[in-house]
């Protein structure tokens, strides 16, 4: 067994927010260049806040725990706040990740950020009411 923290094991065995949002406002997909795994984040935005966040992940235990943690951290945050979620913060919240699994936490943060950017780019076309 990889040496995972209790927190990682807990999120891995009971991942929060698994799934897909049918009418998502933004979708972010990120492939892991190191091991070839994949994460997709779906977001629902209301009043500049992440009203809902869901994910699907093809990857190891760490990748699943990371996606779960990222979704939990992001939910309810403003877009600006959510964009400040870094891989290091995610790893810290998970009480650490094995060194060779740190890249899985990049994957989570990046997929979320991509989903937000996806939302922002679509939204800009309509009218720029979010960027305060």
């Amino acid at each position: 067994m990889p040496v995972y923290s209790d927190k990682v094991m807990e999120h891995f065995t009971n991942p929060r927010n698994v799934g897909e949002i049918e009418d998502a406002d933004g979708i972010g997909e990120e492939g892991n260049p190191v091991c070839g795994d994949m994460m997709t984040f779906y977001i629902k935005v209301k009043d500049d806040r992440l009203e809902d966040v869901k994910f699907k992940t093809f990857g190891c235990g760490a990748a699943i725990a990371v996606s779960s943690m990222v979704s939990e951290m992001a939910k309810g945050k403003t877009l600006e706040e959510a964009l400040k979620i870094t891989p290091q913060l995610v790893a810290d919240q998970l009480e650490g990740l094995p060194k060779n699994k740190f890249h899985c936490s990049n994957l989570g943060a990046q997929a979320l950020h991509k989903a937000i950017q996806d939302y922002l780019s679509k939204h800009k076309k309509g009218g720029n009411d979010h960027g305060k």
């Binding site: 891995f12 991942p15 698994v18 091991c35 992940t57 990857g59 190891c60 235990g61 990748a63 699943i64």
Partner: protein, 395 residues
């Protein structure tokens, strides 16, 4: 919780008879086999008795068996030791692409020392084609090493056919028989090889002991310098308890081989067949027929091996995986990649290796525990999602 240990390639349980055979040498008979007094005699007798037993397992002469500290050491000694002994004649070494790292990395070391190494490819079943070996041989080839069976995908290699080719050209041929010796009949004379590695913990013996058989008359340079133990081919005070255990395990393996095989094959076949039927989208890796008796290796599509391994462990089931995420280096198994499996399929690798203590109940339990785990991970997988949408769209 029901416990099912299905990872016998990693380690096998020690048989009680084997432990018994080791006990005297962990107790009163502690002497050094090289000593000339009675204490030494007791240890030496154990050593030589074990040598006979191991030789008996592989149809060899006892004085051709060198005890080592592991299968890995045997492979290192064979690959480096045989190549170095021949370097006056040439510096070309041939290995298969799916060798264990103890062979592949030894070959890599030889390359640093000025040898040239060629890798023989395998087909999609992980099988080496003897003709490919023939084609790759050169006038300056001084060693060929192709394993007897691959521990990751179970495929049994045409070692005899390859030995016929190397034998004609008088090129020393080593086979890593760690996966087969003690499991399948192995006869060094019938195989026609020049050196063969084996390890005790693959056949219910202790860890930390292996052996290398080297045909009489074949020169080998030792890796360890020191005393004259093991005919000067492996210096260092012998691990007498472990060697005694290996001897006993070899004797038992030889006695019970047919009955063990007859038990394992139906269990393996049932596992492969029913698992595929229950979870679908399963790729069996390795050769469909020509494989190790207790060996069932698969790739489960759309999900990743480490996640499966951990959830199975949570249910008390031990397996292993060749997925990139399970390896420390985050590289997919070189064996699966050499067989041409795409990376995302290789990610779903799960390896079940059965042993003599497994019964139909272990298979029942696995077949009950695994489908919900696979299902759960697939529900989480974007790849499965895409696949389902594509197949729905296609209809």
């Amino acid at each position: 919780m029901t416990k099912s240990y299905l990872d016998h390639t990693a380690a096998t349980p020690l048989l009680p008879e084997v432990r018994e055979a080791m006990m005297p040498y962990l107790g009163d008979i502690f002497g050094n086999p090289q000593s000339l007094h009675d204490w030494g005699d007791g240890a030496r007798e154990a050593l030589e008795a074990a040598r006979e037993q191991v030789a008996g397992l592989i149809g060899a002469r006892a004085d051709e068996v060198v005890f080592t500290g592991s299968g890995t050491e045997s492979n290192n000694l064979a690959v480096k030791g045989l190549a170095l002994a021949q370097q006056g004649k040439g510096k070309h070494v041939v290995v298969s692409a799916i060798e264990h790292f103890s062979v592949l990395h030894s070959a890599r070391t030889l390359a640093k020392w000025g040898f040239e190494v060629s890798e023989v490819p395998v087909d999609r079943h992980g099988m080496v084609d003897p003709d490919d070996v023939r084609r790759i041989l050169r006038d300056d080839t001084v060693l060929v090493s192709v394993m007897h069976a691959n521990g990751e995908v179970g495929t049994i290699q045409p070692v005899k056919e390859i030995a016929a080719i190397t034998g004609d050209r008088k090129i020393p041929f080593h086979t890593d028989a760690v996966a087969t010796a003690g499991t399948l009949p192995v006869d060094v004379i019938a195989l026609g090889v020049d050196a063969l590695s084996l390890a005790a913990n693959q056949f219910y013996g202790p860890k930390g002991v292996g052996a290398l058989w080297v045909r009489k008359g074949v020169r080998i340079i030792p890796l360890l310098d020191g005393g004259i133990q093991e005919g000067g081919r492996r210096a260092g005070t012998e691990n007498v308890p472990a060697i005694a255990g290996m001897g006993k395990a070899a004797e038992l393996a030889r006695q019970h081989m047919a009955e063990r095989i007859n038990r394992l094959v139906p269990l393996r076949d049932r596992l492969l067949k029913e698992l595929a039927a229950r979870i679908g989208h399963v790729v069996v890796t390795g050769h469909p027929g020509n494989r190790l008796p207790g060996h069932a290796s698969v790739c489960v599509e759309f999900i990743e091996g480490e996640a499966m391994l951990m959830l199975l462990n949570g249910k008390g089931i031990a397996v292993s995986s060749g997925s990139a995420c399970t390896s420390r280096a985050l590289k997919a198994s070189h064996v699966l990649i050499a067989m041409g499996l795409p990376h995302e399929i290789a990610q779903g690798s799960v390896l079940f290796t059965l042993g003599i203590e497994n019964t139909d109940r272990d298979i029942d339990y696995l077949l009950e525990a695994m489908p919900p785990i696979v299902d759960r991970l697939r529900q989480m997988s974007p790849l499965y999602d895409k696949f389902m949408k594509a197949s729905r769209g296609g209809n």
